[in-house]
Symmetry: C2
Subunit: 432 residues, 2 copies
Amino acid sequence: MKTYLNPSQEQWPTLAQRQTVASADLNETVKSIFSDIEKNGSKAVKKYTQYFDGVTLENLKVTTAEIEKALTKVPADLKKAIQTAAGNIKRFHQSQQEIAKKIETTSGVFCWRESRAINSVGIYIPGGTAPLFSTVLMLAIPAQIAGCKNIILCSPPDKNGELNPAILYAAQLTGVTQIYKVGGIQAIAAMTLGTDEIPKADKLFGPGNQFVTAAKQYAQQLGTAIDLPAGPSELLVIADDSCDPDFVASDLLSQAEHGGDSQVILVTNSETIVAKVTSAIEQQKAVLPRQSVVEKALENSRALVFETIQKGIEFSNFYAPEHLILAVEDAENMLPFIENAGSVFLGNYSCESAGDYASGTNHTLPTNGFAKNYSGVSLDSFVKKITVQKLTSKGLQNLGPTIEIMAEAEQLTAHRNAVSVRLQKLQNGDYN
Amino acid sequence: MKTYLNPSQEQWPTLAQRQTVASADLNETVKSIFSDIEKNGSKAVKKYTQYFDGVTLENLKVTTAEIEKALTKVPADLKKAIQTAAGNIKRFHQSQQEIAKKIETTSGVFCWRESRAINSVGIYIPGGTAPLFSTVLMLAIPAQIAGCKNIILCSPPDKNGELNPAILYAAQLTGVTQIYKVGGIQAIAAMTLGTDEIPKADKLFGPGNQFVTAAKQYAQQLGTAIDLPAGPSELLVIADDSCDPDFVASDLLSQAEHGGDSQVILVTNSETIVAKVTSAIEQQKAVLPRQSVVEKALENSRALVFETIQKGIEFSNFYAPEHLILAVEDAENMLPFIENAGSVFLGNYSCESAGDYASGTNHTLPTNGFAKNYSGVSLDSFVKKITVQKLTSKGLQNLGPTIEIMAEAEQLTAHRNAVSVRLQKLQNGDYN
């Protein structure tokens, strides 16, 4: 972790740079798999599952029997933890429900919005060594609150053709309606196009490797909405003398273990804090199993010392971190100055892990500077908000002349006529 | 307008098809203009303005003097109409402001969301014969309510190097901070990349032709957010015996005059209504100036007669119209059945023109079936919602074990440690 003292504004763009991941151009691969699955459906999906996951499956859909068997394998304490986390996530996302507010903008003119669930949503859960059941909670719970009819989950099978029991437990707990043992580009293609076995999704959610990311981008071009642009995870901690350097070190390490491409930034007003945190990192790192990953991530990481915390916040807004910990005196009063961040953690006890798993906030957040122009996943991500208007005859009489003048000025005569025809009949007394 | 009686579900995909606009592959053109503007800034922007708009400009930025001169040219009644519409749009979008609700998900664990304006937004207003000042209102008013610092407007200059006075009037009324006389791909490129003259925008809004659409798609790939995927405008009217065929005809025509690629669909439970509406269309059409455009749009348009209005609503949900007029008995009670639509107009006096201009709802809406998975533009489009969490020491003690178990099960040891380090110190009595 390299340290920079009072970096000038000119240096900020360089200091805010993320690792550029050299991604192969996967467009041709993605297109050819989509085209094959469009033509050959399940048969093609199974072919790619055999090729990429090394397992031959007769049925892609996880059966009730499989789920029941898996449930017996999840330890009781993990089940209870998942239930606790699910409860918090549910409470927070339920609080995001919008109650239709009917506004009378002009006498007799009423406007409001109504939320409607997106009918079918597709959730992708990556495979690999760690079973990301927490992401199932983060995506399926708001989908269930929204009332999505199809909540489709795809995740790559292991060598035995199975999914991790904790993923299945989280899925059944949160109302996932269909689970398929499919991963990679073929999963995204199947949910985008729909096959004889897997239903078409209107919107796709979830993390993934560069294959999944490329496939989601292509899906978006085809008209399927996606949750967020992808990028490696990142954390920025702003710390002053009130911080505990051991806590800050543990937070930086928790972010660093996500992957070698993760980035952690320490922003502070004190060189002493940098020294203490660095030393705590060395100590704590020693016992971690993913040391090489952590070390690689720390290579891309920086400690920035500014004269004031306020200047540090300015840099943070420039950087726009996915996760932001404010380990500063009176953290909540600093919040109004935060302009760009995915999720903010206030004070010494709000570690990033809390939001990653169980506080209730969503962990699907904008990375790579996208916190400047995107929100993280929320209940809003699973609904459309339809606007509604109702004009009474009086309302149209009040507002009609305004519309007529504007339509005429935009040279849209038929738009004006739609009002004039009505006003004329009202004037004639055809209606009242 | 071709009529279909009780079309079977198998026919629905064909009946819901939009006109496929044969769009040239503009990718290479877009990329080369972006690259030129990235290298040469304003100089390149002016070169393309000369080439595409046929006008040589020394300064792209509209001056205060130009605005003041323009304001004298806008008729008083149009100014008043624009003010009335602006007032309604402001009232409705202000009602969308979210008040942070702090939720205690577990004792000592607090979660909430805070809205923050997107710093810089770019608004594109097309040129051409009709000055779309109404779109200025629809985009700049919510940007102003959100508190966006830069509200940048680009619109192509006419042959005299000027913008329409009504556009300038609407822009100054709604707090647009910078106005540039730039159109087409070069405008989108300049706002995406930023130049020596035009600031970089974090998100781009506004309609445009196929060049602008292709440029916005490319901007999105570069990380600039955009409002909505583009497509021609459309209207579906559901009408029963309670409708006035003259009103329905006037609404269908108002949509049809937008462009030859517009689509209008009449859904009803009565052949008589189709006959009456068709005859009213013929009558009303005769006096419209844009007859050839209207006739071309009507060629792509359909009347569908279903046995029940309920079946018609099912089709409408399948079609997912941008605009939906419910000209039916008890329209508001039908609303719960509407699943997919951009904006809904209830009853005989709620013509689409009202929403296009002045009722208060936004007229930037999802077309081409995107009402299934996208919302129209609203105040939300101009903000990010940042999640915030605050755990007290008690809160972490309550929730910590849950996080530890979950992190361990996902094999993320450092995530667990971030909690354990804290719980340990609390147990040791280092803090209280």
